[in-house]
Subunit: 352 residues, 4 copies
């Protein structure tokens, strides 16, 4: 039997952290060797997430003063808050040259330092790494990821928008000036911090948009769509909150270019994803529901005709904590460590 890879999770007390642990516990090639959570240091994982009570896991420790070399980790998942991440990863990669990193924050997703400074309001702390990082949308950048030392795991909203749009943009099949992405997310996308606006009684039995006109995820979309198009692309994007735990659904309005029909767009997506294990294109005219990908690493995509000639409605759905975060992170780990890509992330969706 092959040696188990030793992995660590930095920031294990949040939802992306617990999702990593959920899947890594059953990954056949991995040993969980390190769990950090600064505010919960000294506690057992079961005190933070009781679902892990039956399992043996390392105690939560602080990230301060860890000896990266003696830990002997093969790979580190970084699920820390924005900005903290930059310094931690810089130090980690400096001190432990053989370790690899999959970062779940937004810190290394923008390769352009100017774009980063514009959207985040300060200079990046590790600009040399910013350029070295590989953007971890597997279906688009698989080859580069396999050789990467630092993978920037994509955001949940942006994964959900890119998987249907990047192939259409690459094929020059849609008008670039009229793309509208109306996105809806479950509450886990907002994380586990205790804020009034995220209380059950503030969220259940209601629906609303937020960040209208100026959501940070737009920078990531701009970068990837522009790269796909070979010229600048700016889309309209509005996120909404759904009173549910998991799931993102993006309703995308596009106009076919040069006579491309909705059926043509469907054909492009079907062909692109025919052999992908984690992207499934539904028959033309059918559209997906978030509940049917819950808990799985799957993305479902559907295409339908609008009643206005030439316009199509493309809908994609994924679980924001799995394909939108921790599942995709393990998919990236599998590539980086040379494991089969689907290992440990093959769970079938939990519905109902």
């Amino acid at each position: 039997m092959a040696r188990q890879a030793k992995v660590g999770v930095l920031g294990a007390s949040g939802y992306t952290g617990s999702e990593l642990v959920r899947m890594l516990l059953r990954h056949p090639r991995v040993e969980i060797a390190l769990l950090t959570a600064d505010r919960r240091a000294g506690q057992e994982m079961r005190e933070v997430f009781p679902q892990f009570s039956p399992f043996e896991l390392p105690k939560l420790v602080s990230i301060e003063g860890l000896d990266w070399v003696s830990l002997g980790l093969d790979l580190v998942f970084c699920a820390l808050p924005h900005a903290t991440t930059q310094n931690v990863i810089k130090e980690l990669l400096d001190k432990a040259p053989s370790v690899k990193v999959v970062d779940l924050s937004a810190d290394f997703r923008l390769s352009d330092t100017a774009a980063y400074a514009k959207w985040y309001g300060h200079e990046h702390h590790a600009p040399e790494l910013q350029k070295a990082a590989v953007y971890g949308l597997v279906e688009v950048h698989r080859r580069a990821i396999k050789k990467a030392r630092l993978v920037a795991n994509p955001g949940c909203y942006t994964t959900c928008a890119q998987l249907p749009l990047v192939p259409l943009i690459k094929e020059k099949a849609i008008e670039l000036g009229e793309i509208v992405v109306d996105a809806k997310s479950g509450m886990t996308g907002a994380g586990r911090s205790a804020k009034e606006a995220m209380l059950f009684s503030e969220v259940s039995e209601g629906f609303h948009a937020y960040g209208v006109g100026h959501h940070r995820h737009m920078a990531e979309l701009d970068q990837e769509f522009s790269a796909a198009a070979g010229r600048e692309v700016v889309v309209t994007f509005t996120p909404h909150l759904v009173p549910m735990n998991r799931g993102i659904l993006s309703t995308i309005y596009v106009r076919g270019r040069r006579g491309r029909t909705p059926a043509d767009l469907h054909a492009i997506l079907s062909k692109t994803y025919a052999k992908e294990p984690f992207v499934h294109v539904l028959p033309f005219g059918e559209t997906p529901q978030t509940r049917h990908v819950r808990g799985s690493n799957m993305t479902f995509i559907g295409v339908a005709s609008d009643r206005i000639a030439g316009r199509a409605i493309v809908i994609s759905a994924l679980d924001n904590l799995v394909k939108g975060a921790s599942g995709q992170a393990i998919q990236n780990m599998n590539l980086v460590l040379g494991f089969p890509e689907t290992l440990g992330i093959e769970q079938v969706a939990l519905f109902p």
Copy 2:
């Protein structure tokens, strides 16, 4: 004290029926004199809706064989399924010339018999009434409603889309060829019939679009938008289901015409609705949540700038069972019977 108006509710066992009863029970000028529900005839209202247990209400009866004349009703709310409605109202208006009707079905909303036949797949059974009916969106057609004998209460989706869009269209402030309405509704919009797709376990913890590209509500939008524009207008409209009971939120994407900015659009809406009791325009840049209108007859509207110059995002929210159905029906009744418009529908929203 003025005589109480005697009113009846046809189809009292559905959600719009129970909402009518909820508000009419506390309406100071109304007596509930008739409740029908064919499949539940002979039962007490409390057996169908236990919340009415403490109240005295007429027993549910069948609509068959009612003697409309001797009932002596002043007004009838018709909350029956599609198509049935046409025959019932025709007979009722024939036999009881002094009664007035507010119809909550879709049967009399389309004044064009050809449009009706196209969308519903059969000829209208009462085409002469179809033309006489007044479309009951109070804020647009108030004057005509006051004189009407038959009011066609608007649909919930369409009320939510028309209140923000009709003034913008009338003012020629937006491009008519690029309007996208992405609408999200709570489950009560689908009624109370026992269908697998509406079970709790099929609906909770998930989100999806339906009727993509071909929802019947579009006919109603076409009619009213075209009337407002003075020429044919066709919009893109996609409805979605939210795992909540009440509420519709419409995210509407528009482009200003002839240099109109998002702030200009906001100004038009603010001015239009400055004195309306049931439409409230939020300060520029703020957007509404469905939960803040729950149980009330209020519509909230917000306008924000898109990051793409010239484009605005207009968001409206209402309770589909109140302003989207029964509350607006009582608002129409108040006009038709000469009562103050807000009587009996002044409840403040129930949040949380």
Copy 3:
């Protein structure tokens, strides 16, 4: 027209505060003259609760430095956190001798200073008021409340348990040593403070008990049940959290005393509450649902036989924010100010 009573709400930024405002806005004899919220002082109520956007309300102010005399209030609702309340009310009653107070906190519910010190871990700050306060369970203490200057509004769990149990205890109809109250509450019972355990993602799609064996509400039950029995009564009480906003349901297990059957227990409750406007006893064998009292001041009670002879299952349901808090507080205000008891709290339940 009679002069409007001037009322204030201390602590208007919490859920019981917003519920008071919701109902007082439509109360025909009341003017809202003061709203306080220390952390939100200087803001408009609409910034804290957007559902009030369409209404004119006093700006939120700090409780510090208020001149109680010049405010000229007739009555103050106190919806402040535990302990703070004692000092505020003491000062208020000292300085403004004509004002009356309905306190929604737990601070004045226990008349025994020793019991208070035991359950709350410190001496009461206003023990002389503690004795003067009247316990505001209207259906039990109506006569005393009418003459009170300070009414201690009962807790939500305890109102739900007392309404069915007090009459049975008074009638010596049940064994006092075997009472089990298994209570389930919606999330608004936990208030609006930003705690991790109250986040949507921690609460939805799950169910659990809390405070097992040692919940503070027990002190209030002990006091009232013992007073009703004329001797010490201690019951088993377990609270649970339901993923819903509003509602408490208590499933109560009792054994009839001296041959009393479940039907006998039902008869006692039916007789006791025959003329009460806000307590409704269902037919024998039927049991209530929280959704059918949502948003109303109503309590529904049902009694059924257990299959074990002599044992009965009594179930009561109310809306924790209305009859369990703010509705009952207005009911108390109506008594204290000499208004009709049901004024302003007659809304019919909102279902669905």
Copy 4:
């Protein structure tokens, strides 16, 4: 590699059917060879449960006219409605002598034909099988299950009540005349049939008890508790519905016998389940939440002291579709076919 066992699922269009398919798809020793669903015969599984779209599965067929011999199945899961089951299994076992059956209905759980007739209102159609069937609560009847040909998979409520109570009863540690089981279940426990009472809008945002005093699951509890005690035991049991998809939580009130303290009861349960893979006893005083076992085959049990001396509150939680149905069924299959007991059902709980 060992030959894959060929299994069939009768009644694959319900929730226990889809759960079986979810887990069997990833079971390393099983091939899904047959899926039946009479009303959906001829359809693909993906039309009934879209989450299976990416997977190859046999088309749904009718159970009528199947040739059990040529199908060559090793084991059949029967997830059919009550009563139908008896005839189907009788025929199946007659015709295909080598096949084994795990039945998820209630039909073979009662070994006493008189008890069956009493609770179900008719004679059993296969009384000889009724006696041969082994009751499949693995932790209690493991040895007998391994040799069984027909396993009657226990009910969800009853599994949740038996796992904590059977050891306490066997040890004679609690008074048998005072056991109260207050049980709360998510909606999937009610199945997938289209009934008004199960609609989203009837279920969400509310809580209620049902079947008060006379729920059929009681027969199963009587049988197993009486067997454990060696004399007749009758408990009080009240089921409730929680607005969530999955999970059962049982709050159980017991009195220690002969001086047994709550801590003693905890010690008995801890010892009993120390080595069980799917039952986890929490530290004394901690109580479980349904969300922490969601999607897993785990049962969590907690014990706390009541404030009344000698009384304890025991709380158990499981996922009604997994340990309460399909997960336990696969656990039974593993025993019957000689596989490791945990194979294919080791998924970690999905929270949030």
